[in-house]
């Protein structure tokens, strides 16, 4: 009896090997009960680790952005306040709890940065971009980007995103959308005020300058919150 049982086990074993190694057979996969697996759908545009798709593409890096910022943006997409149709579509039937978990998941990831875009060949444009980002333009009441997004442009706690490591097209599209009222933030919407003071060439200069900056070494670091030059929603007054 015992030898027959042993034979049966041996045969089963052989059969299993035969099945798993057979030509096009695929081992039975187990589904990973992880956020990484759940968010696999996002990778096709935002990269497997949320690192983006490189300087030549539109899709922004999302990993390492402040969790509060990501959460608010996901809510904006779900509730139709941000208009990118594909994102609006994907977020539609999600609740705050899951959106918070998604935001926390990407905020905690720190994949390596992809190469920045090549600097603009136009020297005047480069200079204008740098001035607006670092010093602003008092004649047009445009505060410097660095005043709110951190001296190193890596963001400010708790909810202001970093600006380095984003594609030029993405930055330009966001500023353009604010200028035309297509993108809105939690009121008071300081970015709307600022973008409306910028000309089209200001926006191009800022986007190209930011998009070509190499990420600093401490890119994960959010600046501690300070009083902003303008009142902004989502930031403690």
């Amino acid at each position: 009896m015992r030898s027959r049982a042993a034979l049966r086990i041996a045969l089963t074993f052989v059969a299993c090997i035969a099945l798993t190694t057979h030509g096009r057979a695929q081992p039975t996969p187990t589904l990973a009960d992880t956020m990484q697996q759940r968010m696999a759908a996002c990778g096709i545009c935002h990269g497997e680790q949320g690192e983006g798709r490189g300087a030549a593409e539109y899709y922004p890096r999302i990993s390492g952005k402040p969790a509060d910022y990501l959460f608010t943006q996901l809510q904006h997409f779900r509730d139709g306040r941000r208009k990118y149709p594909q994102m609006v579509y994907l977020m539609r039937y999600m609740d705050d709890r899951y959106l918070r978990e998604i935001a926390d998941y990407y905020a905690a990831l720190q994949p390596a940065h992809l190469a920045p875009a090549k600097p603009s060949p136009d020297a005047r444009e480069r200079q204008r971009g740098e001035v607006l980002v670092t010093r602003g333009d008092t004649s047009k009441s445009i505060p410097p980007c660095a005043g709110c997004h951190g001296r190193t442009l890596t963001g400010m706690a708790p909810g202001i995103p970093g600006l380095v490591g984003l594609p030029v097209d993405y930055i330009a599209a966001q500023l353009g959308a604010w200028k035309t009222g297509l993108r809105v933030a939690t009121p008071p919407d300081c970015m709307l005020t600022i973008a409306q003071r910028m000309s089209g060439s200001d926006i191009a200069a800022v986007a190209k300058w930011l998009g070509s900056q190499p990420p600093p070494a401490d890119v994960a670091k959010l600046a501690p919150p300070v009083k902003l030059p303008l009142r902004c929603g989502n930031h403690p007054a």
Binding site: Q26, A41, I44, C45, Q86, V88, Y89, L90, Y93
Partner: protein, 435 residues
């Protein structure tokens, strides 16, 4: 939208309607008022009524149409694009000026049961009163009690923007004479209590046939073919047949699969995306499991019929089909195989099976093309709080690749459906994603 070829029959239909409108307008008082049962003139509703009303409002998914994206619940204002123009849903919060704060129970009953405003004017049938007429007086009163209890929101109704002649409400009387039959649900004595409960919910508040039955050229559901499926106008999703065993049909679904699908949004057989995800997200997931099971029992009992609407995609040659299939196999191996597996069995419920999945094989390929192009997450529900997602491939894959891979999944593993051409795929790139 109206093709020249369709105009003659359309005009003919219009003449019929105008004639009927004239014929029935004088007789409308017969259905306009007076047929409602007395309600006892209660002024304040019991808490239990309000609670029951909230539950029933979920069953009817009232919030889906009477709320704009991110807006105040039930305050209306949602634009509903139809083939005849754009309707804007009304405010049904109890605000006295802009909502239904001044309505009496009778008014609400007349709206739900007869599809008429307090003034007696008919509603456009985008408000599915041809379903709600089946709902009992007690249930309609409970929903009214609930709506009267919610936060009033001041938001003025926006006028509809219907093209001529559809902006002439009097014409609706003709439409109603043709297609609307008021009458409460009557239980079938030969069926179980569970079946009858399911039928009541599906035919009444659930208004399932508003999407799952095809519509004729005047936007009326085809009563001769209930639950036979059809393309949802403007939204361009195909609401599958619930009866045809060949196409979608529920013949091969176990009751438990149906309950899981309707209650959680995912199941061993398939997951809900698009408009069905919405129905589950803000409606069905809140129903009790016995009620969802009753709906499943009723739906499962629908008699299998033949094929539904004929597909609209281009016919292609056998050779083209063969090339699409072969190219599609390579696309599948590169992009799909990790989740849906080489044998097409998927990893349900997270990743639905494609082999034997009626949403893939039904005649119209619009749903699989949409899924490949725009991806999706099933709805977050109490039973599926953290859904897995499907990537959108619209940017990564060309029309040819998408046509190939959809052809492949429609023909591999014993699936037997028509190939899909890149021209068909290209058409769907620009469909509105809002729904």
């Amino acid at each position: 939208m109206t093709s020249p070829a369709r105009t003659p029959i359309f005009l003919y239909g219009l003449l019929v309607i105008v004639a009927l409108a004239i014929a029935t307008d004088s007789a409308t008082s017969q259905t306009g008022t007076g047929s409602a049962a007395p309600s006892g003139g209660r002024t304040s509703a019991a808490a239990s009524d309000i609670q029951r009303g909230e539950y029933l409002a979920r069953a009817g998914d009232c919030i889906a149409c009477h709320t704009v994206r991110g807006g105040e619940p039930f305050a209306g204002g949602l634009a509903m694009a139809t083939r005849f123009g754009t309707l804007f849903t009304p405010n049904i919060t109890p605000d006295p000026e802009t909502g239904i704060g001044r309505w009496r129970e009778e008014d609400f009953w007349q709206a739900m049961h007869l599809g008429r405003m307090p003034s007696g004017q008919p509603y456009y049938p985008a408000f599915p009163y041809d379903n709600y007429t089946r709902v009992s007086r007690a249930d309609v009163d409970a929903i009214f009690a609930y709506l009267k209890s919610i936060k009033p929101v001041r938001r003025k109704n926006r006028a509809h923007e219907m093209a001529f002649p559809y902006n002439q409400r009097a014409l609706l009387n003709g439409w109603r004479a043709l297609y609307f039959e008021p009458g409460e649900f009557e239980p079938a004595a030969t069926q179980s209590a569970e079946w009858n409960r399911g039928a009541y919910l599906v035919q009444g508040l659930g208004h399932c046939d508003a999407c799952h039955t095809g519509r004729n050229f005047l936007g009326a559901t085809r009563r001769a073919d209930p639950f036979a499926g059809g393309v949802m106008p403007v939204q361009e999703w195909y609401a599958p047949s619930l009866t045809s065993s060949g196409e979608a049909g529920l013949g091969q679904w176990e009751i438990d699969d149906l309950v899981a699908f309707l209650h959680s949004g995912v199941s061993r057989r398939g997951a809900a995306y698009g408009p069905m995800a919405q129905v589950i997200f803000d409606g069905l997931q809140y129903l009790s499991e016995p009620d969802v099971r009753a709906m499943a029992v009723y739906l499962k009992s629908l008699v299998p019929r033949g094929a539904a609407e004929s597909p609209t995609q281009l016919r292609i040659t056998e050779q083209q089909g063969k090339e699409l299939f072969e190219r599609g196999a390579a696309v599948y191996e590169r992009w799909c195989v990790d989740c849906h597996l080489r044998d097409g069995k998927g990893i349900p419920p997270a990743y639905p099976p494609l082999a034997g999945n009626q949403s893939i094989t039904m005649d119209s390929a619009v749903n699989p093309v949409r899924m490949v192009m725009f991806g999706g997450f099933p709805p977050v529900t109490a039973k599926n709080r953290r859904p897995y997602g499907m990537p959108p491939f619209a940017q990564a894959l060309s029309d040819d690749d998408i046509a190939s891979v959809v052809t492949y999944i429609r023909q591999a593993w014993g699936n037997r459906s028509l190939a899909v051409s890149a021209t068909d795929v290209g058409r769907y790139r620009s469909i509105p994603l809002e729904q």
